[in-house]
């Protein structure tokens, strides 16, 4: 396994140039703005606007671009990601405050996306070009064609506006009161998990109730990719000789599919993890905005809108790391389940 360790180390080292590139790209974009525009973040009243040039000077917004970049970079290397003006806290704090919201949605959405995608893909392949195939494909395509924000709006209009079942936000006022009380122990920041650890069923149910729509929305719009890969790898597998042989021997079709085909067909699905992570990140920006969930995606969108550059930079770095690591895990896993693939 020594080679695996070196492989991982090498891949992790490769993150560095990518991250540098990401930060330079974002920084270069931010330099298109004039100092006055970037100072707008600090100027919210006419009174402050009359002091704008002092503010620009104070925060060094008029210094040459490379100087500003190196200041930022040297601060980052010292572990200081800067101050998020859009959140009024240091960037690091913004992360620690906001990640549980995003992660909680993601960890519930991801398994369901995979589950639904795999299921649909399987049906579609087994009944290729027959009615179930068409239905499954239409379902996936429909989900894929839905604008995330629109499906979110429709879900809210029905389940909140009309039925009042699933409200937006993370917790209702009563559950919030419990979570803020002194008896509550925060283990992870994820309310569903903390609620179980605290043994509080009420908070758990409330948290699930608030998670239902955002997760459902992400599953609806997110499963198409998985479904497609599953379908084609399943089709490939079904055409293999061992399947034909088994069929000719009279092995029940069900056994063939469940015991062998599905398992082998799942391997390529693993490669979709990277795409899934990227899709979730984008999906979160919209979903969090519509469902009033103040997480990383919401923060990123608002920071970009307000030209809060340290925040946008930090978010881009974060997604870069997540994305690269997700792909690394995929590659390692892939080599692990499919011995034919060699890591190099």
């Amino acid at each position: 396994m020594g080679s695996l360790a070196t492989y991982i180390a090498r891949r992790l080292l490769l993150i560095i140039p990518t991250l540098l590139g990401v930060s330079i790209l974002i920084f270069a974009i931010s330099m298109v703005f004039t100092p006055e525009q970037r100072a707008a973040l600090y100027v919210t009243s006419p009174k402050a606007a009359s002091k704008i040039y002092q503010i620009i000077k104070k925060y060094g917004l008029d210094r040459p671009a490379h100087e500003q970049y190196f200041t930022w970079l040297s601060n980052v290397l010292r572990g200081n990601l800067g101050y998020s003006k859009s959140m009024n806290i240091p960037v690091i704090r913004a992360f620690t405050d906001l990640w549980p919201t995003s992660v909680e949605i993601a960890i519930y959405a991801a398994p369901f996306i995979v589950l639904v995608g795999v299921k649909l893909g399987k049906i579609s392949a087994i009944y290729r070009d027959k009615l179930p195939d068409h239905i499954a494909r239409v379902l996936a395509i429909v989900g894929w064609s839905l604008p995330t924000f629109w499906s979110a709006i429709i879900l809210l209009a029905i389940f909140y506006g009309w039925l009042g079942w699933f409200p937006p936000g993370r917790l209702g006022p009563e559950a919030q009161a419990i979570v803020r009380s002194s008896e509550w122990v925060t283990y992870t920041g994820l309310y569903t998990i903390d609620a179980l650890l605290n043994g509080n069923l009420f908070v758990f149910i409330d948290a699930v109730r608030h998670l239902f729509l955002p997760v459902l929305n992400l599953v609806i719009v997110g499963n198409a990719g998985i479904m497609r890969v599953m379908r084609s790898s399943m089709l490939e597998e079904l055409n293999k000789e061992y399947v034909l042989a088994a069929r000719s021997k009279g092995v029940a079709e069900r056994d063939i599919i469940n015991k062998h085909v599905t398992r082998n067909a799942l391997i390529p699905v693993v490669t979709m993890a990277g795409v899934l992570v990227a899709g979730l990140m984008t999906g979160l920006v919209i979903t969090e905005t519509v469902f009033e969930l103040k997480g990383l995606g919401y923060w990123a969108a608002h920071a970009a809108e307000q030209l809060d550059i340290p925040s946008v930079l930090a978010f881009a770095l974060f997604t870069g790391v997540v994305f690269v690591i997700a792909n690394l895990i995929v590659d390692v896993l892939y080599a692990y389940i499919d011995p034919r693939v060699r890591l190099q």
């Binding site: 006419p46 009359s50 704008i52 040039y53 009024n88 009161a177 699930v208 009033e292 103040k294």
Partner: protein, 623 residues
């Protein structure tokens, strides 16, 4: 997919829906165990805090209260703003102010809805010439400090805390912050630094301006200052009394002379999330972007507040806010004017209307537009642009003033809930006089004046320029569009382009002097006419400076206004300024909005003071 899989899926879905249904069921799971707490009687005689139902609101719509009070021991407000900071010396926005003035206390405070009468809080008396606490013709002001006030830390408040607090505001003096309000009367300067950022103030001056003398704190003013104005400044959040030990612990100025420059104009507020106050509520938690939770301070010297928690939630989506409000999950909500109809008359909601705000907005003429401005076309009076000094012609400015259909505008863009004022001084402040002359819509007169402007050249050649507004501001957009429609209808050679830009772009164009015409509003720092005539008319005031408007007579009058202490004389000066404003038309005041307040009918004790930055929870109760 086998039947089994379908079965599992359906069962899961049903379970999900059931959870939703039951958890949402009215009062099933959600019933709280807390029963309604009785309204506590307030132990002191200070009237500002005494809860009694308000009868003073101009107009009230009430619907019969019938339902059970939700969250009876909490006051929950849903709004859209997010505080910038909880540091009183840094905060200059209303969202921060709302939290701070519930957490901290000032020497004196406004007497309920009045903006020019005060009640003592940390001080035991409101200084006046009559009670001998104002001396030297208004240059020495004495505040006897109350004993027995406890900070949230448990420490007792001392005169040293008061001295430290007021000096810290001057020491901090961040760019674009509120410190100038104390620096101006106490040191006679607008800032501790010159425009290049060099410190120009000696610590001695700061130190001497606020002194402890026994149980008193004495303010030494640099120049005579209108007493009411000074007391107004001292009644607001920037003058909050902070716990010195607590502040130093959180990294604020250590109170020493040697170090003060280090704490001048910091990058970030030191008391950003600290609670060094003595007010009726202490900080529970500030979840950035979500909510601020304040908790009752049980040792509050006037007796504990009626709520165990006061929660200010940030709910951006109107539809969500509306539903929470309609369902009674929040007690007060910010309702955008255009959505008023959706909650007005809903059961359990009370509306206060026509509350005059201390803010207004105007259309400003730029007397010297930047020659490189992209918004003036060719930069010449050739029909394809305007010259930089275009608006120096008074006939032209007058023509614009007559071309605006003010009444229709207010009716359509403000649903009639705004008023016009003759000058920069809004209704509700001394010096406001509705009988002064103002321009009214008269398209024929406008035409005549356009023909006269620039000796007829404007009419012959025509012009072309842009009016910008920042996106999302529907009222400004409507005004810009109206000006375009009216002016263009007079002459086919007149062209005005209405453009929407983001706030950063708008700001850039404005501070660079690129906007030929701009629309912007002013919100009072303190309720005094000086705070309006200065930015609008004085050549170094915020707006006038951008416009390059300068009238030496005006400058003299404005300066006289702030050094005159006699109220009657001050009103005379205001009238004169308003008259000059009419003659000079440096800008046109278009509207002063009338506010509204919405609350659940189970909330009692609310009253309107236009200078409050938000909800002052102490006098309120539910039931």
């Amino acid at each position: 997919m086998s039947a089994k899989d379908w079965g599992i899926a359906i069962v899961l879905l049903i379970i999900g829906l059931l959870i939703g249904y039951f958890a949402a069921g009215p009062g099933k799971v959600t019933t709280t165990t807390v029963t309604q707490t009785s309204v506590k009687t307030v132990t002191t005689t200070v009237t500002a805090g005494a809860p009694k139902p308000t009868t003073t609101a101009p107009k009230t719509t009430t619907t019969a209260p019938a339902e059970k009070v939700k969250n009876p021991d909490k006051l929950i407000v849903a709004t859209i703003g997010e505080p910038e900071t909880l540091d009183p010396a840094w905060a200059y926005d209303t969202a921060s102010g709302e939290v701070i003035f519930n957490m901290y206390e000032t020497l004196i405070f406004f007497d309920r809805e009045k903006v020019d009468q005060f009640v003592p809080i940390v001080a035991t008396k409101v200084p006046s010439f009559e009670n001998g606490l104002v001396k030297d013709g208004g240059k020495t002001i004495i505040f006897p400090i109350r004993k027995g006030i406890k900070f949230h830390s448990g420490r007792e408040l001392t005169p040293e805390d008061v001295e430290y607090s007021l000096e810290r505001v001057m020491v901090m003096d961040r760019d674009g912050g509120p410190s100038w309000m104390l620096l101006d009367p106490l040191l006679g300067v607008e800032s501790t630094r010159d425009s290049d950022g060099n410190i120009v103030v000696k610590f001695e001056d700061i130190d001497k301006a606020v002194e402890v003398e026994g149980d008193n704190v004495v303010l030494h003013l640099k120049k005579p200052y209108p007493l009411t104005t000074l007391l107004q400044i001292l009644s607001q959040t920037w003058s909050s009394i902070v716990d010195k030990e607590c502040a130093i612990k959180h990294g604020a100025w250590d109170g020493k002379a040697e170090t003060w420059t280090k704490y001048n104009n910091p990058d970030n507020p030191p008391l950003q999330e600290a609670d060094c106050g003595s007010g009726p509520f202490k900080l529970g938690v500030w979840e950035h972007g979500k909510q601020v939770v304040l908790k009752r301070f049980d040792d509050y010297w006037r007796g504990p507040a009626n709520f165990t928690e006061f929660i200010i939630m940030k709910v951006d989506e109107w539809s969500t806010r509306k539903l929470m409000f309609l369902k009674g999950d929040v007690d007060m909500a910010y309702v955008p004017r255009q959505h008023a109809k959706e909650v007005e008359g809903a059961p359990g909601i009370r509306v206060y209307k026509n509350l005059p705000t201390l803010s207004n907005a105007a259309l400003f003429f730029n007397f010297n537009i930047s020659a490189t401005s992209p918004y003036i076309g060719s930069g010449k009076l050739d029909g394809n642009g305007v010259p930089p000094d275009f608006f120096q012609d008074k006939n032209l400015r007058k023509a614009f003033a007559y071309a605006i259909d003010y009444d229709t505008y207010i009716k359509e863009a403000w649903f009639g809930e705004a008023i016009r004022t003759p000058g920069p001084i809004p209704k509700g402040l001394p010096g406001y006089d509705p009988n002064m002359p103002m321009y009214n819509y008269d398209i024929e007169k406008a035409k005549e004046l356009f023909q006269k402007a620039w000796d007829g050249k404007v009419w012959d050649k025509g012009f072309k320029f842009s009016i910008l507004y920042n996106t999302g501001n529907e009222q400004r957009k409507a005004l810009a569009e109206m000006i375009k429609d009216k002016v263009e209808s007079l002459n086919p050679k007149f062209h005005i382009e209405v453009k929407a830009v983001e706030w950063p772009d708008y700001l850039k164009a404005m501070v660079r002097g690129e906007l030929p015409l701009f629309i912007i509003g002013w919100l009072a720092d303190y309720p005094d006419p000086y705070n309006f005539v200065f930015p609008y008319m004085h050549s170094s005031g915020t707006f006038a400076a951008w416009q390059h408007y300068k009238n030496p007579k005006v400058d003299e009058l404005v300066e006289k206004l702030i050094t005159t202490t006699d109220q009657q004389k001050r009103i005379e000066i205001c009238k004169e300024l308003t008259k000059i404003y009419y003659e000079d038309i440096p800008s046109i005041i278009v509207y002063q909005p009338l506010g509204r307040h919405y609350e659940r009918t189970w909330v009692h004790g609310w009253y309107y003071n236009p200078i409050y930055p938000g909800v002052y929870a102490y006098p309120l109760w539910k039931g």
